[in-house]
């Protein structure tokens, strides 16, 4: 039996008071405990940024790697031991900026990992520069006349690449967020969960109220398996922002297609006592 306490550790978060990361952290523990996942069976992988510190603040196996490079580490670990539940957790700058190439190609690869992105549309750790998802016109210390490049749309890109699972949630709706996390974790295949989140220190535009007034939940009448509809929802941004499961495409995972993993996790395969005489013959 795993309860929420199981996940508590003695680390003290280094986040600003009121940061959306606190509620995401709480939801993470809630979702994991409701799914009855023991911390030992969970591998969290994170990059660099305020969001990427999150896995330090609860009990789990953790590889906190480089900025933007968490997804490849997660993929490598999952290939080595596909019995682990592997979640990459980082922010918008890490995943959509520095790690853009890995984001794109791992949607294609469809390894059964989960990618949770705290999307606050700003750089927090480096103190307030624009992120790939910052809205046009946002002024910062660097973008002094406002952002002039249109924002990166992770949902539309994921749908365009026929991602296996695409969802969006909001750190201000705990019940919804826990539910989305659980659906992402239990989905078989690469799952993107983009989590809208206010940054109380650096983002004065996209505040808690800003999101609260705009987000609306997709209801049961919405069919997430319809790719055309999913595109429509992916492009919706501004006065109304949909949250929920936007797209599901149950295609075979990378691991399912590898004969090498049929007999169990790769790391358990014996590597001694093997007869290599057929290889030796190639050289004779």
């Amino acid at each position: 039996m795993v309860d929420i306490e199981t996940y508590n550790n003695n680390q003290v978060p280094a986040w600003c008071p009121g940061c959306g990361n606190f509620s995401i952290l709480r939801c993470m523990k809630q979702a994991l405990s409701e799914l009855n996942i023991p911390p030992e069976h969970l591998l969290m992988v994170s990059g660099i940024g305020q969001a990427a510190k999150a896995p330090h603040y609860f009990r789990c196996n953790l590889f906190n790697g480089l900025h933007g490079r968490d997804i490849p580490v997660a993929v490598g670990a999952k290939i080595a031991n596909h019995e682990l539940i592997v979640i990459a957790e980082s922010g918008d700058g890490n995943t959509y900026g520095e790690g853009g190439n890995h984001f794109i190609h791992n949607i294609r690869r469809n390894v059964n990992i989960k990618v949770f992105v705290h999307n606050n549309q700003i750089y927090g750790l480096t103190k307030g520069q624009a992120s790939p998802t910052s809205d046009l016109g946002m002024k910062t210390k660097v973008q002094v006349d406002g952002v002039i490049s249109p924002p990166f749309n992770p949902i539309a890109i994921a749908v365009a690449l026929n991602a296996s699972f695409v969802a969006r949630s909001f750190s201000g709706d705990l019940e919804h967020l826990v539910n989305m996390m659980k659906l992402a974790i239990t989905h078989k295949g690469f799952a993107l969960l983009d989590i809208l989140q206010p940054c109380v220190t650096f983002n004065r535009v996209n505040t808690f109220q800003w999101y609260k007034q705009r987000v609306y939940k997709l209801d049961d009448s919405y069919d997430p398996t319809n790719r055309i509809l999913a595109f429509e929802k992916a492009l919706e941004w501004g006065d109304k922002i949909p949250i929920g499961v936007i797209y599901i495409n149950n295609r075979p995972t990378y691991e399912e297609q590898l004969p090498q993993l049929k007999d169990g996790p790769l790391y358990k395969n014996p590597i001694t006592g093997i007869d290599y005489s057929d290889i030796l013959r190639e050289f004779k």
Binding site: E40, L43, N64, G65, L66, R69, N81, Q260, I274
Partner: protein, 559 residues
């Protein structure tokens, strides 16, 4: 007895097939071979050639001069005819190439025979092999067996044997040809190229995950593992870029699988941040780098030894690493296994530094004793319940458990971290962690192999080299000793940490560095680590490997 054969033509004409069949032909006939490929960065056209050097005595490199030039196109004749030695001849297709006259030119209608016997021009390779075996009065049954092994389809097998036989009869009828390679004896030797040696070594070491982005000449190792992936349960994943490749490998290694990347200098440049991550998180990994001339894209299909200082110094921050530069295919096989064992033992990155010349050339090597190979993982399968991934220990080596082990959590961080693995800004812990990480380098220094010495017991001059130049320098030293020179070779395979016990014996000798780069990189490393300044240098950086003849010439100039 020695005979040097060059087969030249355009890319796509099957030169590699001829060299692969002929190298095994000579091996099975009881000879030593050394095969070197020279090719351009293109799939069709261009000028490509292979030198097959055959000898009754052990040989270690290719060398200048040609006894038999097999020209599959006219350009080959133009480019190589002046390299013909005294008794040398040119075998060419006298229906395709016109106007060659004189007794050195031996015309055979190669293509017509191929079309007649096999109804395809492709069989020209089998005809050429047949002519060679006939000329050299070799054992046709050995060639027949090799051709049958080459093809799967019964009819194709038969047609190629017929083509070879026709070529053989013609070659055999040639009078007054000086060189003969009759069957000598069976042997247990192997003929192996450096790329396969690294790949095979990795498989035997238990590498079961490779991630790479294709880059010549490192790709050879990716191809090799992929070719054996199904039978030995190896996952080979072509990454979206080299940054992803190294990070995937670190993830897989963290989760318990022996893993490697393979690349060249440019790709490794992209992996450098990941190398530093391996250093910080103490995650074992093996990095194979096939050097080619730089800077930047350089000469993609040529050879050079100019990444030594880059590889030793790569990565921000301070952390130990093992760097080995194998001297030949046999050494590459064993050093690859050593690289995996040391990576696991000390939880460090191990780098195997080869080059295009070593990867693409094949040589006769003594049989490998697989039963003597030892594999040690150094993984703690039943860790203490207070397990800490980065526990400070006397040796600096922390117990390594794998994520997924019941009762413990395995935590690591690219940030400075505490013993548990959690991010910290405690400067006291920082200092202890730096010292813990570096301590392993001191132990590692005890594991490196001293350079190999070959030569007279009391040398006046000692040549110093590293990596794939071994064969050429070795042969040069043998020849110089034969001429009465008191000379020796000190050859480094393990290069970092730099072994230093040799200093006692050879430190006061007159040293001449022989390196395939323009600035004497090993010389710089030796100066940095020992204070010894090697003034005389023989350096080559035109993209081609050294030959024994040119080293011999240069040594005599300096002597």
């Amino acid at each position: 007895m020695e005979v040097k054969i060059v087969v030249g033509g355009e890319a796509g004409q099957g030169i590699q097939t001829v060299s692969s069949i002929m190298s095994k032909f000579f091996l099975r006939s009881g000879y030593y071979v050394f095969v070197e490929h020279s090719y351009q960065s293109r799939i069709r056209g261009g000028h490509n050639f292979t030198q097959i050097r055959v000898s009754t005595e052990p040989i270690y490199s290719s060398d200048g001069g040609i006894d038999i030039l097999v020209a599959l196109n006219e350009e080959t004749v133009k480019l190589h005819a002046d390299e013909l030695l005294d008794k040398g001849i040119v075998v060419y297709d006298n229906e395709l190439i016109k106007g060659l006259e004189g007794e050195r030119f031996y015309g055979v209608p190669l293509q017509r025979i191929a079309v007649e016997r096999a109804q395809t021009k492709v069989a020209i390779n089998s005809v050429a092999c047949g002519v060679l075996v006939g000329l050299l009065e070799g054992e046709f049954s050995i060639l027949e067996e090799l051709i049958k092994e080459q093809f799967k389809d019964l009819e194709v097998k038969e047609k190629n044997v017929q083509s070879a036989k026709a070529g053989y009869e013609i070659g055999k009828s040639k009078k007054d040809f000086q060189f003969k390679t009759p069957f000598l004896s069976d042997n247990n030797k192997l003929v192996m190229d450096g790329g396969s040696a690294v790949g095979f070594g990795a498989i035997v070491a238990g590498c079961r995950f490779l991630s790479a982005y294709p880059m010549t000449p490192g790709t050879a190792v990716m191809n090799y593992l992929a070719g054996h992936s199904k039978k030995y349960n190896i996952v080979v994943e072509q990454a979206e870029d080299e940054i992803s490749a190294i990070n995937m490998v670190l993830g897989a290694s963290f989760a318990g699988v022996r893993s490697m990347v393979t690349t060249s200098g440019g790709g490794f440049a992209l992996m450098v941040e990941g190398l530093s991550l391996a250093g910080m998180t103490e995650t074992p990994c093996v990095i194979h780098i096939g050097q080619r001339p730089g800077p930047a894209t350089g000469l993609p299909t040529r050879t050079e030894q100019a990444e030594l200082l880059f590889v030793i110094n790569a990565g921000h921050g301070e952390f130990p690493r093992y760097v080995t530069a194998p001297r030949d295919a046999r050494d590459a096989f064993y050093k690859t296994i050593k690289a995996f064992n040391l990576a696991d033992k000390y939880q460090i990155p191990s780098i195997i530094l080869t080059d295009q010349f070593l990867i693409d050339s094949a040589a006769t090597i003594d049989e490998l004793d697989l039963s003597a190979v030892e594999i040690h993982r150094y993984i703690d399968n039943s860790p203490d319940k207070n397990y800490k991934r980065h526990l400070i220990t006397e040796s600096g080596i922390s117990p390594r458990a794998l994520p997924g082990t019941d009762g413990v959590l395995v935590i690591t961080d690219s940030d400075e971290h505490d013993e548990e693995g959690h991010i910290t800004e405690d400067l006291g812990i920082r200092k202890m962690m730096v010292e813990k990480r570096l301590k392993r380098g001191i132990l590692l220094k005890e594991e490196v192999e001293e350079p190999l010495y070959v030569g007279v017991s009391d040398p006046r001059v000692v040549l110093v080299g590293w990596g794939s130049t071994y064969g050429a320098i070795r042969e040069s030293v043998d020849r110089l000793i034969g001429e009465g020179y008191r000379i020796g070779l000190l050859h480094f395979s393990d290069v970092y940490p730099l072994p230093t016990r040799w200093l006692g014996r050879y430190g006061d000798k007159r040293l001449i560095a022989v390196e395939g780069n323009a600035t004497g990189q090993l010389t710089q490393l030796i100066r940095r680590e020992t204070g010894i300044d090697i003034i005389d240098k023989i350096l080559k950086y035109n993209g081609r490997p050294f030959t024994p003849s040119e080293i011999t010439r240069e040594v005599k100039k300096i002597w």
